[in-house]
């Protein structure tokens, strides 16, 4: 009796794990849409952090391209090194702040959904499924917000650079140069968002269902 039951449950488990990625996608999208403004606040944090990163990256590229093509005067190497390390420091700090901010809002989002998560677990959701929902949601937010962040940062820098360094310098960076910063921004933004979401998602997933049902918020 026990044997047949466990065999059955094993095959069942395989099917459970396999299917719902497409569904998980739509559930994650739905929950961003429903909590639109909350999601936008989280996204705004990512967006601003990545916009700042984009301005720094693009300015560095403008300077490099401008100097290489003789559009800008060769700077003092010592001053340039100092500026680079200061920028690195600033970007790192801003990204840390952004990461902590995302972790905070994801924790809130988990707390807010205790009951929902508990219900899903009662209905047979595996830990992995709950974790996947949160990670997918974070993934969407990360990609969209960092893309927009790159756009904002790039626009600001192109306009500012055009006026202060001259428009030829803006052009000297080249399409590939801008695309490369785009890839960096999206990768860094998404990875940070996922990293910040990992522990909140883990917390949600490992909660025993009864705990989730008990909390009345």
């Amino acid at each position: 009796m026990q044997q047949t039951y466990q065999n059955k449950s094993f095959t069942g488990q395989e099917r459970i794990l396999e299917l719902p990625l497409k569904k998980a996608f739509s559930i994650a999208l739905q929950s961003i849409r429903v909590r639109f403004w909350r999601s936008m606040v989280t996204a705004a944090g990512i967006l601003l952090g990545i916009a700042f990163l984009a301005t720094i990256l693009i300015r560095a590229r403008m300077d490099a391209a401008g100097i290489a093509q003789g559009l800008l005067p060769k700077p003092d190497p010592e001053a340039m090194a100092a500026a680079t390390s200061r920028n690195t420091w600033l970007v790192a700090m801003s990204l840390i702040v952004v990461t902590v901010g995302i972790a905070n809002s994801m924790l809130m989002s988990v707390t807010e959904r205790f009951k929902e998560i508990g219900t899903m677990k009662c209905l047979g959701a595996l830990d992995a499924f709950v974790r996947r929902l949160f990670m997918l949601e974070a993934g969407f937010l990360g990609v969209i917000a960092s893309s927009l962040g790159w756009l904002v940062g790039t626009l600001i820098m192109v306009i500012a650079g055009g006026f202060s360094k001259g428009w030829p310098v803006v052009g000297a960076v080249g399409i590939m140069g801008y695309l490369e910063t785009f890839v960096w921004c999206v990768v860094i933004g998404t990875v940070l968002t996922l990293a910040a979401t990992f522990f909140p998602a883990q917390k949600a997933a490992s909660m025993p269902p009864v705990m989730a049902l008990r909390s009345e918020i």
Binding site: M1, Q2, Y5, Q6, S9, F10, G12, Q13, R15, I16, E18, L19, P20, K23, I27, Q30, S31, V34, K115, E116, G118, T119, M120, K121, C122, L123, G124, A125, L126, D127, F129, P208, P209, V210, L213, E216
Partner: protein
């Protein structure tokens, strides 16, 4: 096999202890209940009696400190997380006092969610979901979100959801607790109908006296032990007796 199928759920000497500071509270103090397949069983008791703790232990939602719960003769303490999830998904349907529908999903999506977890193909799920919504009388409101439905309607959706994977057991935790008298009666009648039509075992934690008349047996819990078990035959007599006094 045939011999094991008489009881769908058995609990053996369940003990659950909650420690609050330095004091120990024995929420369950040796509870053994055997529940027959196809039975409509009510767990009655005042709040703090251990009723909910027993209910959660039976549903595999909480682990007892001592004793065992057997579902289909399987000791659920022996199951790993995935097997427990499987059990909750296929064997047990849950109904809650606060309905617990997923707010971002429509009635139909709520009903089909357990089917997604069970790996049922989407088309088949939708078809079955619509059929279940029809059964509970809400087929025409399948696209409504929970916030657009009344309490009674939400509980009907929850009943349809609990039947999604054709479970052997439905666990209902105070299913009428948040409903008015009339709606409560409708929900109880619907549960009874599901019990009769689908042969699903219904275990309901309640302190709603309306539940008494439809239950096959009523288990009274007090201070963490089974105080007494009433059979329906006896109950009818008792209720008659009370009425005579009036």
């Amino acid at each position: 096999m045939a011999t094991s199928s008489e009881y769908i759920v058995r609990t053996k000497d369940l003990v659950k202890i909650y420690t609050m500071g330095s004091t120990e509270l024995r929420a369950l103090n040796g509870v053994s209940v055997d529940i027959k397949r196809g039975e409509y069983l009510s767990l009655m008791g005042p709040s703090g009696s251990g009723k909910s703790t027993l209910f959660n232990a039976i549903g595999g939602l909480d682990k007892p400190d001592e004793g065992s719960v057997f579902i289909n003769e399987v000791d659920i303490a022996q199951l790993d997380a995935a097997e427990l999830a499987y059990l909750r998904c296929r064997q047990i349907g849950y109904i809650f006092q606060t309905f617990n529908l997923i707010p971002v999903m429509t009635a139909l999506e709520n009903v089909t969610l357990p089917m997604i977890f069970a790996g049922v193909p989407s088309d088949e799920g939708v078809e079955r979901g619509m059929k279940l919504l029809d059964t509970v009388g809400l087929g025409h409101r399948y696209h409504h979100k929970p916030t657009e439905l009344s309490g009674g309607q939400q509980q009907r959706v929850a009943i349809a959801r609990s039947l999604a994977n054709d479970p052997a057991i439905i666990l209902a935790d105070e299913p009428t607790g948040n409903l008015d008298q009339r709606t409560g009666t409708e929900i109880i009648d619907l549960l009874r109908k599901m019990n009769e039509d689908h042969g699903v075992t219904i275990i309901s934690a309640t302190h709603d006296p309306k539940m008494l008349s439809v239950s096959d047996r009523v288990v009274h819990i007090r201070d963490g032990i089974v105080e007494r078990i009433d059979l329906r035959e006896d109950l009818d007599i008792t209720i008659g007796g009370i009425e005579e006094h009036h």
